[in-house]
């Protein structure tokens, strides 16, 4: 297949001379930053470089109106993916046609809105931009419509011309506008555009409308009444194929040939010789190409010419014969000098049923993945790509969808649509999603949760872990310990949970209260993530028991924290200090055995550091010593009371 080669587009960077310096760059998520630099190590210092320029890839995404196109078409796309694979493709055809129409109606709606703002805006540059977008969408819809007729609906001979007529009528809409203007004028028949309207109607095969307008003229020329009546009769009798009826194509053909002979007869008779306009109409009815080409202005495009030519000369044309008439029509209509524009080549490729070429040319000419992506996906669902190109069929679809979805991902809200597109790309969709989704800026916790939900639904555990870790780190930096802890629990990051637990305990030592009680009270099994977190949870539980005045439970827990080595050594002094008020209670809470154990703990703690560290201020040392003295006293007294009490009970 011939490769269409197009020169790459050049984007000018202002205030920079490529002949003198190098252009440095860095990739961003949706843009490239460029800056001037000199890479040669020997390159002399050239003073400051003024600017870093942000070069955007795709401005379409940022248009609020096109955003609607992306949103709406996303729903259609998802619906299309749900059509069951196992249905025989025959049954699916009406569905595909209807989906195709839905896509087109979204394009049309978008076009109308763009047109509206283009006209109402005061900003000339903006108006031009909108105008360009409208032109592109018009072309897109024109191509899509033709693809729908030829490939998706795949109308057979007979119906084919009718569909093509509809296609032309839809895209050559200025006739109605002109007709309205003519009919609204004081004397329609004398309006300068009168005959243009009549002939335009005839060229589009809209005979009833043509007849209605013709009546106006007939009324003015009573002398020519017979002639007008004759033409009216011919127009009325023109057979139109009706696929709904029982009539066969052959029957229609016979009928049509009869009619044509009759028209021909009238021409031979010179029935309309006295009126040039009526004579021309009559010649059009027999498909006189020279006369048709005289009305180039009214036809305005070669494909209108093609369809009109088919209507009057070959109304039963088969799809396989189309390419012949399309090529010849294009050559007859276009100047021999003028080179066909991309739109012409694309339409011609469609008439030649070269789907691959259509997609390829569109992706080159349009610079817009929305159209090729969705159209290719639809054609792929219609099983049209495989038959045309066995080897690359599904790859082409995926390639285009990946491109489109990657573009969406650079947008701060459209990225969520892209997820569904990636989901429906079996080969690389998941990897692309993994690479893209971890780059979504986690501005808020809500956004982070949204991203995580998407990852969790797809078992992307590594991404979930990473996002939680980033959020934990961020929360810690901002001193939000509770949030940091819950994120690190979610990330199952033991080291980080340990660190944050440590911070909680430090905070408690400094302030005497815990923050984020809700979280710590409800840790549940998550507590087991790290030893330190377990301790934090248990220690908080001790405080709760204490607060609820369940002193013996509290005391038991406190002791176990030390004996079971859950508490870090550094924290033992705090725990022992916490034991003080329990020891000082009137009733005995720590039993004699428990008190012994507490004493062991205290000794274990103090025996290690008998030598006072020199850099520690004396005052601290004093407080520490006093604390230990107090503890020893309290322990001794409690032991005495406990022994007495236990002895009393035993007796």
């Amino acid at each position: 297949m011939e490769e269409v080669d197009v020169e790459p587009t050049t984007t000018p960077i202002p205030g920079f001379d490529s002949n003198q310096k190098h252009l440095g760059f860095v990739w961003g998520p949706g843009d490239i930053l460029v800056y001037e630099t000199i890479y040669k190590a020997s390159g002399g210092s050239a003073g400051g470089c003024p600017f870093v320029h942000e070069v955007r890839k795709d401005e379409d995404i940022y248009s609020p109106i096109l955003r609607k196109l992306f949103n709406e078409s996303h729903h259609i796309f998802v619906g299309l993916q749900r059509i069951r694979e196992d249905l025989p493709s025959k049954n699916k055809k009406p569905q595909f046609v209807s989906i195709s129409k839905n896509y087109r109606s979204v394009i049309r709606a978008c076009m109308e809105e763009l047109q509206q703002v283009a006209v109402s805006t005061q900003d000339a540059a903006l108006a031009t931009q909108y105008g360009n977008q409208v032109s592109i969408l018009l072309a897109v819809e024109l191509i899509w419509n033709l693809c729908e007729v030829l490939f998706i609906d795949a109308a057979p001979a007979g119906s084919l011309v009718l569909h093509l007529l509809d296609w032309v009528r839809l895209h050559k809409a200025d006739v109605d506008e002109k007709a309205r203007e003519v009919l609204a004028s004081e004397s329609p028949a004398e309006h300068q555009a009168y005959w243009d309207v009549v002939i335009s109607y005839v060229l589009q095969g809209r005979m009833d409308e043509a007849r209605q307008v013709l009546v106006k003229q007939a009324a003015l020329q009573p002398a020519a009444r017979v002639m007008f009546k004759l033409l009216d009769n011919l127009l009325m009798k023109m057979p139109i194929f009706n696929p709904g009826e029982t009539q066969t194509l052959t029957e229609f053909d016979v009928k049509w040939r009869h009619w044509r002979e009759e028209v021909d007869h009238c021409l031979q008779d010179q029935s309309f010789a006295s009126n040039r306009h009526l004579e021309d109409i009559c010649k059009i009815l027999v498909g006189d190409e020279d006369v048709l080409l005289e009305y180039k202005e009214l036809l305005s495009t070669w494909y209108h010419f093609l369809v009109t030519r088919l209507l009057f000369s070959h109304p039963t044309v088969k799809p396989t014969e189309l390419h012949y008439y399309a090529q010849s029509s294009m050559h007859m209509f276009l100047d021999t000098r003028s080179v066909p524009e991309p739109l012409d080549s694309i339409l011609l490729a469609a008439f030649e049923f070269d789907i691959h070429q259509v997609i390829k040319d569109c992706s080159i000419a349009l610079n817009n993945w929305w159209f090729v992506g969705h159209l290719t996906d639809l054609l792929d669902h219609c099983k049209l790509l495989q038959s045309h190109n066995l080897h690359f069929g599904s790859n082409l679809r995926e390639f285009l969808l990946l491109e489109y979805a990657s573009g969406l991902f650079t947008h701060h809200s459209l990225w969520q649509l892209a997820v569904d597109y990636f989901d429906h790309c079996p080969e690389f969709g998941r990897v692309y999603l993994e690479l893209q989704i971890e780059r979504v800026p986690l501005d808020t916790e809500r956004k982070a949760l949204k991203v995580i939900r998407i990852c969790e639904q797809r078992q992307m555990t590594e991404q979930v872990r990473s996002i939680c870790k980033i959020m934990a780190k961020k929360a810690l930096r901002n001193n939000r310990l509770g949030s940091a802890l819950s994120w690190s629990i979610r990330a199952k990051d033991a080291a980080f949970a340990t660190l944050i637990s440590e911070r909680f305990l430090q905070d408690y030592c400094a302030k005497g209260t815990f923050s984020d009680l809700d979280l710590i009270d409800n840790l549940g099994p998550a507590m087991l993530l790290s030893d330190r977190l377990t301790f934090l949870g248990k220690y908080r539980e001790f405080h709760r028991l204490y607060g609820e005045k369940r002193f013996s439970d509290a005391a038991k827990l406190l002791l176990s924290l030390m004996t079971a080595k859950i508490a870090p050594h550094s924290f033992w002094m705090t725990l022992l200090t916490d034991a003080l008020p329990l020891l000082e209670q009137k009733e005995v809470i720590f039993s004699a055995d428990q008190t012994h154990e507490l004493m062991f703990c205290l000794e274990e703690l103090t025996s290690g550091k008998s030598v006072p560290t020199p850099d520690r201020p004396m005052q601290d040392e004093d407080i520490e010593t006093t604390k230990i003295e107090l503890l020893r006293l309290a322990l001794a007294r409690n032991l005495a009371m406990a022994i007495v009490k236990e002895g009393t009970v035993e007796v």
Binding site: I13, P14, F16, N19, T37, S98, Q115, A125, P441
Partner: protein
């Protein structure tokens, strides 16, 4: 493509590197003025310089961000023979109000005896590791064993490459099938010294990096090198900036299970472009490696793209418009001046015509007799286009609509268009 905005960087000398953070919300610039600046993107998309400080006592060649899992961490390398690690700390509240942040130096890596030419963090699955390479031909791999304490870095590996090193790239693959792998490029211009790209692979048994491959066909000076994201493939793709742009595919050959040596590769060249005419200085992949960008002696940035048949082509060029550099450079007070508005207006027209260039003339100038005049809906459309619509409601909903005539959709289309006289209804006779 178009220039959306321009940021007055206000460096007092050449910028050597600009680096985006992982999420694209921050960037760092470094310069011959020995400083690094950090820029934050606001909600509206404007860039604000939130920190600027002297980092080295020589030109700063490269600056790079660590993965955000490790916090807000930067590394820089310089002509002053050192690399440094920087961490942002949450400052005083009045700093925040002024929109400034504090970066403190966590460590200076002083092992190199010559200019440190590149600095890269290893892929995050390997932990917090930093690699440098230097003109004396040594690649050094450092590790911060405690990610909470960035002032401790230990030199884990020193790889002697024998040739002056200019650039390094880690293979980003986190697949277990791929041991850690690093590519090193040399800017030694003596072609007699052989291949200028070496691939080193970590060996689990020896716990050392060993050379797995030398790209013998690349004999000219190499200035930049970049592994592409792996995309779950078994092979690796490597882009190289030398006298041209080259893309290589490294296909691991199957190892014998008893073998403990480094992986052997089949090296295939995928593409080679000499469009820059001479030296190429930088190559870099976008996130999903669908695009490769390169910068060369022609003063242009070129974008390369493969189609679905893996044919590579230049799809875009960023090129100076040749206008003289305007006088605002180096103005001390010009910090963060946005010149975007003026640039943008002039660009819009350009870019608009680029987008529409294949199809249609601009809306407001339908030439008389234009072949496309008919495609432009007349303005009368406007006053009628107030109807709201939602295509959701047009999706066929009843099973009837699916198997028989799809009555809803043409009808709703009709409804959609009936208000607009200029656009005809879609065909309804199917």
């Amino acid at each position: 493509m178009f220039v959306a905005r321009s940021i007055a960087a206000d460096h007092k000398d050449l910028i050597h590197d600009v680096s985006y953070d992982f999420h694209g919300r921050r960037m760092a610039t470094c310069s011959s003025d020995q400083s690094v600046k950090v820029w934050d993107k606001s909600e509206s998309g404007d860039w604000h310089c939130t920190a600027s400080w002297k980092t080295h006592s020589g030109s700063v060649w490269r600056v790079t961000w660590a993965h955000p899992e490790f916090g807000q961490v930067l590394a820089s390398c310089s002509f002053d023979r050192t690399a440094a690690v920087w961490e942002e700390i949450v400052g005083e509240s009045n700093d925040k109000q002024r929109g400034q942040s504090h970066w403190i130096k966590r460590t200076t890596l002083v092992d190199s005896r010559t200019s440190v030419t590149d600095v890269k963090f290893a892929p995050k699955h390997m932990g917090l590791m930093l690699t440098t390479c230097s003109a004396d031909g040594v690649v050094r791999v450092y590790e911060a064993p405690d990610v909470m304490n960035l002032s401790q870095w230990s030199l884990q590996h020193e790889i002697s490459c024998k040739l002056s090193c200019s650039c390094i790239s880690w293979n980003p693959s986190s697949s277990r099938a791929h041991p850690p792998m690093i590519a090193v490029g040399s800017d030694d211009s003596n072609v007699m010294y052989g291949g200028k790209v070496q691939i080193y692979e970590y060996n689990d048994n020896t716990r050392k990096y060993a050379k797995a491959e030398t790209l013998m066909t690349v004999t000219d000076a190499v200035h930049d090198i970049a592994f592409s994201p792996n995309l779950g493939r078994s092979f690796h793709v490597l882009a190289i900036a030398t006298k041209d742009v080259r893309i290589f595919k490294l296909v691991p050959l199957r190892k014998e299970s008893s073998s403990t040596g480094p992986t052997k590769f089949e090296v295939q060249i995928v593409a080679q472009f000499d469009n820059h005419n001479s030296q190429v200085w930088r190559v870099s992949w976008n996130i999903t490696s669908t695009l490769l960008a390169s910068s060369g002696d022609d003063g242009c940035v070129r974008l390369w793209k493969a189609n679905y048949m893996d044919n590579w082509k230049c799809t875009g060029i960023l090129k100076g418009d040749g206008s003289p550099v305007n006088g605002s450079s180096g103005q001390p007070g010009a910090m963060n001046t946005m010149v975007g508005s003026t640039v943008q207006t002039s660009q819009n027209a350009l870019n608009g015509s680029a987008a529409g260039r294949y199809f249609f003339p601009p809306l407001d100038a339908p030439r008389a007799g234009s072949r496309y005049g008919h495609l432009l809906p007349p303005p009368s459309l406007i006053e009628h286009s107030d109807a709201q619509f939602s295509p959701h409601s047009q999706l066929p909903q009843s099973p009837m609509a699916i198997h028989g005539q799809p009555p809803q959709s043409p009808l709703s289309l009709h409804r959609l268009y009936s208000h607009s006289r200029a656009l005809n209804t879609l065909p309804e006779h199917d």
